[in-house]
């Protein structure tokens, strides 16, 4: 279990993480979602005691990180930035981490095997691909067989096979009763792995909810109907006990009914339809809406730069 309480990090004037309070519970995968620059990595570094919080507190199983006896046996982490000496072999990289926490050497072989790096264990890390580097990072996180696992953007740079492997790994770790905390800037990725969701934007907590709840609340499905005989269609639907809501552009939106049923109804009453389409607001859209106000660097869409008319420069000259 990871508990954050009023966790805040300020770099001079800029507030990277603002008053975060939430708990990451065991037995499930908790997704940590936010746009790039939202403060996810900073939060994770503070959990590991790498960055000092400006205010607030974070505890691992009720204890401060630097009070943990052999911390790798409590919490294993894969951080975003690669942190391996390029001249050191994968084996020695893991061995020095293991030794510092009193983890037996045979465990190094086990985790190398688990991530599929046994064949290159004695090779220097500088020859590793992004995917191999990521696997080595995961091997390091698994080293102490910890009850808590933390992954910062684990699928970045992985091929489809690697992505599938990570997802399966995280789910199986959670199924073993471990606490799994994984960050991502992709809602779609979270939807596939996480059961619980913590969303932040500009360092602030925006949502702390179960994935099922988030989906139920945010992914509304409805049917879009457009007809030249709008009044007639509204009557027909009303008689059938179906409520239709007019949307701005003259189309109707129907909640809670299948498109088939509406189509059949319209056919029976001989109403002409120009459109009949089931709609589903994607989770990605819901996430974008949620974080829209908090995204720090907007791409300036919608306000195109004024186009200089041909000859303007000549006239000015």
């Amino acid at each position: 279990m990871i508990e954050l309480e009023g966790l805040t990090k300020r770099y001079g004037e800029k507030v990277a993480v603002r008053d975060l309070t939430f708990t990451v519970r065991p037995g499930i995968v908790t997704g940590f979602l936010g746009p790039n620059g939202a403060g996810k990595s900073t939060t994770m570094r503070m959990i590991l005691g790498l960055d000092h919080p400006t205010a607030g507190d974070v505890r691992i199983d009720g204890t401060h990180y630097d009070r943990l006896q052999d911390p790798l046996t409590y919490i294993g982490a894969l951080l975003e930035a690669k942190g391996v000496h390029p001249g050191r072999s994968a084996y020695n990289h893991l061995l020095c981490l293991a030794q510092s926490n009193g983890i037996p050497e045979r465990r190094v072989h086990e985790v190398l095997d688990a991530v599929g790096l046994t064949a290159v264990a004695r090779k220097k890390a500088k020859g590793f691909s992004l995917g191999m580097g990521q696997r080595l990072g995961i091997a390091a996180a698994l080293l102490g067989d910890p009850r808590i696992m933390m992954f910062d953007e684990p699928v970045n740079g992985l091929d489809p096979e690697g992505i599938h492997w990570i997802r399966t790994l995280m789910k199986s770790l959670a199924a073993q009763g471990r606490t799994v905390f994984v960050s991502s800037h992709l809602m779609s990725e979270m939807a596939l792995t996480a059961e619980h969701l913590v969303v932040i934007g500009q360092g602030r907590l925006l949502a702390d909810t179960s994935m099922a709840d988030f989906i139920a609340r945010n992914s509304r499905s409805y049917v879009r109907v457009r007809s030249p005989q709008r009044e007639l269609l509204l009557d027909v639907l009303h008689q059938a006990g179906i409520t239709a809501v007019e949307s701005g552009d003259g189309t109707l939106e129907v909640d809670g009914w299948e498109a088939e049923r509406i189509g059949e109804l319209a056919a029976r009453e001989q109403v002409v339809l120009h459109e009949l389409s089931p709609q589903r607001a994607s989770l990605e859209e819901a996430f974008m809406r949620l974080t829209a106000e908090s995204v720090e660097y907007h791409a300036h869409t919608g306000t195109p730069a004024p186009v200089q008319a041909w000859g303007d420069g000549w006239k000015r000259g």
Binding site: R45, L48, G49, L50, D51, H52, Y65, D66, L68, Q69, D70, P71, L72, A77, L79, A81, K82, G83, V84, H85, P86, G87, R88, S89, N92, L95, C96, L97, A98, Q99, S100, N101, G102, A140
Partner: protein
Amino acid sequence: MAAAQVVRSEWTKIRSVASTMWTLSLAVVVTIALGMLISALSRNEFDGMSTRDRLSFDPTFISFAGMGLGQLAMIVFGVLVVSNEYSTGMIRASLAAVPRRGTFLLSKLAVATALALAVSMATSFAAFFLGQAMLGEHKASIGDDGVLRAVLGGGLYMTLIALFSMGVAAMLRSPMLSLGILMPFFFLISNILGNVDATKKVGQFLPDQAGSKIMQVVTPLDDDTPYGPWGGLGIMVLWVIAAVVGGYVLLKRRDAQ
């Protein structure tokens, strides 16, 4: 967390990178070879020297003439041992594994310093004996007054240079910045300050100028240094303590970037 575990871990780190081997071998080879060369040249020049120069002829100190250059490799060793952690990003994994930063830094410095001490002592003795062999009839003997102190001191001097570099690198973090400051400082600036009359009074309190006094057996005639061999080494130790404490305080306070 037992400090012994962290020491073992740091030993694995230091023995598993190539830079340890090549910096230390370079220090050994340069110090010994240059010492032998200058010893051989001095033997040939002895006959042409003035009486005054002959009186301050110090065969022990001459055989350590390679140390001025050899110490640069020791500086690189000390800097890389610490700053590698930062330049590779390994520091985050290291501090996540060993969150008690005092234990982390002291274990790292203890392992690297012990290794530097073993290599430096061997180098100092080898430089002395091989240098004396080159000096022929002008040679000093290890049993002569003050000679053993000078040879042991040579080993201590090189070790302290390495430890000083580790402390500076712990403060500066960047290998380029650390080397960019330490190399010209020890190779040029310190020598200039120590040899120009106006700055000599200050220059002789710099770590290398003060520390190298321990390798002198024969005091030059016009020597007015206000400290003896052990006093000089003591001054150097103070510099080293300042660098290491500075490195520790900054490591403790800063975020691990």
